[in-house]
Structures are given as structure tokens and as C-alpha cells.
């Protein structure tokens, strides 16, 4: 165990102390902040605080009894004719005006007049709400309730008593996490691939093998590289994670099921990734070959993301169930289906058992491949040799 910590510490300190690492660590956030700051500055600089007007030629806006008119009177100034509105625009009293034409009821088209600045998207959304609420104002209170107060929808499968109440937070959290997982897989794999390639390429591996066992070497390096990656993630995404989790706690919607799933599936999935990358690093002659193979493995891990539309329309589709039971794709598939709100418990349990068993088997296999890779030093392992190792015939 002592050797594991020593290898880990060496790996971490050597990589973190590099100036290039520090430059990237702090340079990327600075560049991003500057970039977004520039965008925000441009937005503020171009902002126009003048109100908009409207000309209602279709009888949509209700002058009496409309809550909307009171709320938005300051934002939307009424004009009787287009000429009057245009004079106000030319006099720079308003930033622009909308015309609800007589054929609005057939076309739902609105005309917008501005001077020389583009019509902001948020302004069009606001005016759409203005029109919508004026249309609703044409209904009695009871009738309006049928239009505005319907929902939430609850879901039940035929022959089942379980009622599902979909949560938007669950949806966003789940899908957001799968995207994050994809980014992590692609950015962390290069680190993992170097788990043995550095020492192999600079020929210090033989020397190290005289002092530490292959297991201590791999586990120590794994912990060290994880710590390096963790440092990068904490600095890059720490603030975001704190804000996101803080918001969820404040909203009292801490997704305990989600956290449990991430923990249960995340750890063995990570072990599988490490095992595969270690094996690739051991069997390939150089880093370039390793990167090509690693790229293909990364695609497999994130494969369920390609089927997001199918998961949305039919989360219990046979394809999604199949991806749930395949250990390499299980993590992403389970989280995606959880986000869609419909995954039978038994499938989650079976999937988790498969993932754990595969992870343990792969870790043992990785150490075995690494040993053989050491014996075949400097050469690429043939597929027949790898197959013998997998079957346990190579000692």
C-alpha cells in the first residue's frame, strides 16, 4: 500500500508542478471569462431601454378588464394608427412598434417596425406573451382556467398502478449529466492512456518494476492521474457545481436517487474505463496507436447519447433496454432513462450487477495485460496474444 501512495504522490506532483499545466489550469477560465465578459459588454452597450408601441388592427388587445394591459402599459404604448406610431418611432420616443394586422386571425403573423436596430429575441417573446394574455382575457375566468391551469400531467402504464410525475429538473439534470459525462470521458481518456505509456516510452519501466508490483504501479498512477484531473475539474467547474448544487438545495429538490445512481454506476464505470485504457496503453507500441483505439472506446461509452430522441419518445424501447444491460453503455443509458422518468427497478439492479462484475473482471484483466505487455516490451501485442490473456492462458 505504501508503494501505491508513493507512486500516486510522484505522479501528481510531477504533473501539477509543470508550468504548462498551471498555464492551462488558470488560462482557460481567464480566456472564457474574458470572452463571455466581452459578449455581455456588447449586449449591455447595445441595449435600448425605450418602450415599444403597438397598433391593434385585429381587435386582439382588450382595453377593459385585461390584467395584461395594466401590467404592460409601460412597456407597450398603444397607437390608434400606423402613422401615429411611425411618427413616434421617427421622433425616437419608442424603440419600435408592432402591428397586429386585420388578417391576424388567419395568419397569426405580426408586423414589427424598428428604426435601424435589430429586433431583440427577448422582446418578441415578451410581445407574444402580451398577445397570448390578451387573447386569454377574452374568456371568462372559468373558461380561462381551462386554458391556463391545465396540468401537470401524470402518467401511468396500462396494467400498472404506479403513477409517474415527470420532473423538469430531473430531465435537465439527467441529460445535462450525460453531456458532462461525455466531455469527461473524452478529456480524461488521454490522461488514463498515459498511465503506462510515459514510463514505457522513456524506458524507466524496467527500473520501476524492480521495486513495485504491477498492481501497485497501476493503482498508484491511477490515483495520481485522477487527482490531477480532479484538480483541473475543481478549478474549471468548481464554482459551477457549487452554484448548481446550492440552487437545488435551496429549491429543496435534492435529487437523492440521481446522486445514488451516479455513485453506484459511476465508480465501476470509471474502473472499467481505467482498466481499458491501461490495457490499451500496455498493448500498443506507442501513444499514437493508443489514442486511435482509445477514441473508439470513448465512442462506445457515450453511445446512448446518439439515441436521445428514441429515449425521449420511448424510454423502454428494446434498444434502450439493450444499452442498459451492456456494461460499457449502462451508465449513460441508465441516467438518460432516469431523466425520462421511466426505468423499471429490476432493470437498474441487473444492469448494476453486470457493470460491477465487468469492472472487477476488467481490472484483473488489465493488470494481466500489463504484465504481458512488459514481457513483450517495445512491441505491439498481437490479437492472438491478447485473446490468450483474456482467456487466462497467458501467465
Amino acid at each position: 500500500m505504501h508503494n501505491v501512495w508513493r507512486v500516486m504522490w510522484f505522479e501528481y506532483v510531477t504533473r501539477v508542478r509543470r508550468r504548462s499545466f498551471l498555464l492551462l489550469l488558470f488560462g482557460v477560465p481567464v480566456v472564457m471569462v474574458l470572452f463571455w465578459g466581452l459578449l455581455a459588454w456588447l449586449a449591455v452597450r447595445d441595449a435600448d431601454t425605450r418602450p415599444f408601441g403597438y397598433v391593434d388592427e385585429a381587435g386582439v388587445v382588450q382595453e377593459q378588464g385585461s390584467v395584461v394591459a395594466e401590467l404592460m402599459a409601460a412597456t407597450y404604448l398603444p397607437f390608434a394608427t400606423r402613422v401615429q406610431a411611425h411618427e413616434a418611432l421617427a421622433a425616437e420616443e419608442i424603440a419600435g412598434y408592432y402591428v397586429i394586422p386585420p388578417d391576424y386571425w388567419q395568419t397569426h403573423q405580426i408586423e414589427a417596425m424598428v428604426w435601424d436596430e435589430a429586433l431583440p429575441t427577448e422582446q418578441t417573446i415578451l410581445f407574444e406573451q402580451f398577445v397570448e394574455q390578451n387573447l386569454q382575457a377574452q374568456l371568462s375566468a372559468e373558461a380561462r382556467a381551462l386554458v391556463t391551469d391545465v396540468g401537470p400531467f401524470e402518467f401511468r402504464q396500462v396494467d400498472s398502478d404506479e403513477v409517474l410525475r415527470p420532473s423538469t429538473i430531473q430531465f435537465i439534470l439527467g441529460l445535462g449529466f450525460v453531456f458532462l459525462f461525455t466531455m469527461v470521458i473524452f478529456s480524461f481518456s488521454p490522461y488514463l492512456l498515459r498511465i503506462v505509456s510515459d514510463e514505457k516510452e522513456n524506458r524507466t519501466m524496467e527500473l520501476m518494476m524492480t521495486m513495485v508490483s504491477p498492481e501497485a504501479m497501476i493503482y498508484g498512477k491511477l490515483l495520481g492521474l485522477t487527482a490531477v484531473f480532479g484538480t483541473q475539474m475543481v478549478v474549471w467547474g468548481g464554482l459551477f457545481v457549487v452554484v448548481a448544487l446550492g440552487s437545488l438545495v435551496a429549491l429543496q429538490v435534492v435529487p437523492y436517487t440521481f446522486l445514488l445512481l451516479v455513485l453506484l454506476f459511476g465508480v465501476p464505470t470509471f474502473m472499467m474505463l481505467v482498466a481499458i485504457m491501461t490495457a490499451i496503453g500496455s498493448v500498443t507500441a506507442n501513444l499514437e496507436q493508443g489514442q486511435q483505439m482509445a477514441g473508439m472506446v470513448n465512442w462506445v461509452f457515450t453511445f446512448p447519447l446518439f439515441f436521445v430522441l428514441i429515449a425521449l419518445v420511448d424510454p423502454n424501447n428494446p434498444l434502450m433496454v439493450g444499452l442498459t444491460f451492456f456494461p460499457l453503455t449502462a451508465f449513460a443509458a441508465v441516467i438518460m432513462r432516469w431523466a425520462m422518468g421511466a426505468t423499471p427497478l429490476w432493470q437498474v439492479v441487473v444492469s448494476w450487477l453486470l457493470v460491477v462484475m465487468t469492472a472487477v473482471w476488467m481490472m484483473l484483466l488489465a493488470v494481466r495485460v500489463f504484465r504481458v505487455g512488459m514481457l513483450e516490451y517495445g512491441q505491439r501485442l498481437g490479437w492472438s496474444t491478447i485473446w490468450r490473456v483474456v482467456r487466462g492462458g497467458e501467465k
Binding site: 492551462l24 371568462s140 373558461a143 382556467a145 401524470e154 402504464q157 396500462v158
Partner: protein, 447 residues
């Protein structure tokens, strides 16, 4: 010069002999085309199997375009066994909308999917809008009856509207397959409820889609045309950015790999005994540019071929090639110069970084400035855009964008080209100093 060609030939043949290059060039695009084609097909099949009874477009198109005079009461389909009649009365319906309602599509129409069921315990959805065929909404007295219909395949799903619906908005959806975030039929149900609330087809359609689109007109003299140009420029700048970024990303990978590997395996030291660093770099540049051109011409040729075929098949898009000549000349000149400049800079990075991974990360930082011209497209003749069209790292995108907008003075083009050539010269000069296997950033700074 002979050495330059020797290096170029070596680079070219070394990479051409790699299986990975051919896989990347020919096999990978077909693999991804097949993969994405398969995914699209599967997604399409799933969507078709779970198609809603009537989609939003069908409902609204028919609702807005129909001109059939209504027969009061004729369109109301009384629920089979629901006792309560709808009590909700529409109010303040605008005069202009009364009398104009829509024609119902027939059940044979392609737009129609599987019918839905309704268990209307609240009695708030008893009237069917004229444009919704009666066979698309089946009424049931109890959940049990509706469940039987789902099992028999007569309906895909049904909605249970509780007795206290207006007060308690919760609605239960029961289906063979549960997909809470797809809910394709929710719109139809909302449409039914809105129609029962308003009693008017046109008001209901407007309630469901208050604004379809905005027609924007610029009132300032001569601005209308300019604003249209600005929108067009955004596409031009965006297109140029993605094209250039893609080419640079691909080519820089080869350059970085070539330089860093020779540094790492220490053959660089031997090479530099018989070659000047500038010669070596120029040779690499020529060889790798040839490779990149070959790869890109195949990929983009295939892409353009498929795009043109799709457009011809669709017969809806007309390509407007009205861009000025100076734009195309500018694109050719600044792309070529920008490409050579960026690949040379990547070569410098390769010479100065200890390994491939760190080099790759720095290349990403190096290409970030290419994004900046996209932010200033709205002010194409402003000082910010002028600066970026002169600044070498942003010029390959900014200058062609300005050229698409108006004739740029010759001195600005000359200055921009001169600065890019200057950067290339400095890069080639520096590269010779950086070729050391143990090079660190502190050494780079001192040199």
C-alpha cells in the same frame, strides 16, 4: 530547395503509408454516414410508431385555413356515456372571428395518427372542434373501458379529466408505453379544452399559437438593405469560421504530431545536423498541406455532392451566388495565408512543447481568436472589425467578412497580408531556436 522537397516527400509518403490515414480519409466518413443514417432511421421509425393523433402543424394549418360555415351543434359530438354536459360558455369572442371555422381532415389523411381516448369526468371536453375528425377522439365512461381499448389497440393512450378539473389541473395519461417527456397528444388535448372554453375555432387556434412569425421592417432610410446584408454576413462569417477551424484542427494535428514525435524520439537532433530548421519546417509545411488538401477535397467534395443532390431533389432552394468578386479573391488569399500562418505557429508550438498532449491544448487556445470576428459582424465597417481584419490571428475570418460587405481599401489588405507574412517569418525564425528536446517555457521566454 532540394532539401525542402526531400522533407516534403518524406512527410507525404510517411503519412500516406499509414493505414490510419486511409481509414480516416475514406472509411471513417462512410462509417459515420452509415451510423448517423442508422440512428436517423431508427429514430424515424420510433417517431412513426408513436405518432400523435394530430400534430400541431395539422391542427393549426387546418384551423387557420378552413373556410367552412359552421352548423351550430352539428360539430358537437356527445360523449357516449358522460352525463354532464359542458357548462363553460365562451365570452367576448371578437366579431371578426365568428363564423369562420375550419374543415376537418378525413381519417385517410397521412397527417393523422392513432386516435386518443378521453374519460371526461369533468364534462369540459364534450364539444369537438370542426377540424378534429370524430374518429380521432373516442370517449369512454370509465378508465376500465378505456384501458380495454388500449389493450385492443383501438387507441394508443387516453386522458382522464378529473371531476374537479378546472380547480385541480392534474390530468392522468394512461398508455401502452410511458414517455412522460414526449407527450405528443398533450397539444391536441389542450386544443380540445381551449375550444370548449372559447367555442370559437379561430380564437382557439390563436390561443394555441399567439404568434406564428414576425415580419420585421427597418424604417431608417437605406437601412433595410444593410440589415439584410448583416444577417447574411453572420452566415458568411460563421461558415468561414467553421470551415477554417475544421481545416486548421485537422492539419495542425499532423504538424504537431510530426514535430513533437521527432523531438521526443530525438531524431530531430540528427536531422538538424544536415538541415536548417527553416528548411525542415518549410518541407513539413508543403508535405502536410498537400495531405490536408487531398483529405479536405475528398471530404468537402463528397459533402457538396450530397448537398447539391439534396437541394436538387428538394427543388426548393435557389443558390444565390451574388457575392462580389473581391470576396472570393479575399477568401482564397486569406485562407491560404491564414492556413500557412497557423500551421507554422503550430509548428512553433510543437517545437516548444514537451509532448503531444500539451501541444494539443495550446493549439486549442491559439485558435480561439478566430471566434472573435463573429461577435462584431453587426458592425462590419466599425473600428473593432477593422482592427481584427488587420490582426494576423483574426484576419483570415475578419477580412473576407468585410470584403463580402464592401470594397476594402487596398492599403488595409496590403497591411493585413504584410502582418501575416511577418508573423510567418518570425515563427520560422523562432522555430530554429526552439528545437531542443528538453525545451521548457522558461527557455522559450529567454530566447
Amino acid at each position: 530547395m532540394r532539401h525542402v522537397w526531400l522533407v516534403a516527400w518524406y512527410e507525404l509518403t510517411t503519412i500516406l503509408r499509414k493505414r490510419s490515414f486511409w481509414i480516416m480519409t475514406f472509411v471513417l466518413p462512410f462509417f459515420f454516414t452509415l451510423l448517423y443514417g442508422g440512428i436517423l432511421w431508427l429514430s424515424g421509425q420510433t417517431m412513426e410508431q408513436n405518432a400523435p393523433a394530430m400534430d400541431l402543424e395539422t391542427i393549426l394549418t387546418v384551423a387557420e385555413e378552413g373556410e367552412v360555415e359552421p352548423e351550430v351543434g352539428a360539430t358537437a359530438v356527445a360523449p357516449a356515456t358522460v352525463a354532464a354536459e359542458a357548462e363553460v360558455a365562451p365570452t367576448a369572442v371578437p366579431q371578426s372571428t365568428v363564423g369562420a371555422v375550419a374543415a376537418a381532415p378525413t381519417a385517410e389523411d397521412d397527417e393523422l395518427g392513432n386516435p386518443i381516448g378521453l374519460v371526461d369526468q369533468a364534462g369540459v371536453a364534450s364539444l369537438l372542434p370542426p377540424n378534429v375528425p370524430a374518429e380521432m377522439v373516442l370517449y369512454f365512461a370509465t378508465e376500465a373501458e378505456a384501458e380495454t381499448a388500449v389493450r385492443d389497440g383501438r387507441i394508443q393512450e387516453f386522458f382522464v379529466l378529473p371531476p374537479d378539473l378546472p380547480a385541480d389541473g392534474r390530468i392522468l395519461v394512461v398508455s401502452q408505453k410511458v414517455s412522460p417527456f414526449y407527450a405528443g397528444n398533450n397539444f391536441l388535448l389542450r386544443y380540445l379544452l381551449a375550444y370548449n372554453a372559447s367555442g370559437d375555432a379561430l380564437l382557439t387556434a390563436a390561443l394555441m399559437e399567439p404568434v406564428d412569425d414576425y415580419t420585421v421592417t427597418f424604417s431608417a432610410p437605406l437601412v433595410q438593405e444593410e440589415k439584410q446584408v448583416t444577417t447574411f454576413l453572420l452566415f458568411v462569417a460563421g461558415g468561414l469560421f467553421f470551415l477554417f477551424f475544421f481545416i486548421i484542427s485537422m492539419s495542425s494535428g499532423y504538424m504537431l504530431q510530426s514535430v513533437v514525435l521527432e523531438k521526443e524520439n530525438r531524431t530531430m537532433e540528427i536531422l538538424l545536423l544536415s538541415l536548417r530548421p527553416q528548411t525542415l519546417m518549410l518541407g513539413k509545411l508543403i508535405g502536410l498541406t498537400g495531405l490536408a488538401l487531398f483529405q479536405m477535397s475528398f471530404w468537402f467534395g463528397a459533402l457538396i455532392f450530397f448537398m447539391v443532390r439534396s437541394i436538387q431533389q428538394a427543388q426548393t432552394v435557389q443558390i444565390d451566388a451574388s457575392l462580389p468578386v473581391q470576396f472570393w479573391v479575399g477568401v482564397a488569399l486569406f485562407f491560404a495565408l491564414g492556413y500557412v500562418m497557423y500551421v507554422t505557429l503550430v509548428g512553433v508550438l510543437g517545437a516548444a512543447t514537451p509532448n503531444m498532449r500539451e501541444g494539443g491544448q495550446f493549439v486549442m487556445l491559439l485558435t480561439l481568436p478566430l471566434l472573435l470576428p463573429l461577435l462584431a459582424v453587426g458592425d462590419a465597417d466599425g473600428p473593432w472589425m477593422l482592427f481584427m481584419s488587420l490582426f494576423p490571428l483574426t484576419a483570415p475570418i475578419a477580412m473576407p467578412t468585410r470584403l463580402a460587405y464592401f470594397p476594402v481599401p487596398a492599403w488595409q489588405i496590403g497591411l493585413s497580408v504584410g502582418l501575416m507574412v511577418l508573423v510567418m517569418g518570425i515563427s520560422l525564425h523562432l522555430m530554429g531556436r526552439f528545437f531542443r528536446p528538453d525545451m521548457r517555457w522558461s527557455h522559450v521566454w529567454r530566447r
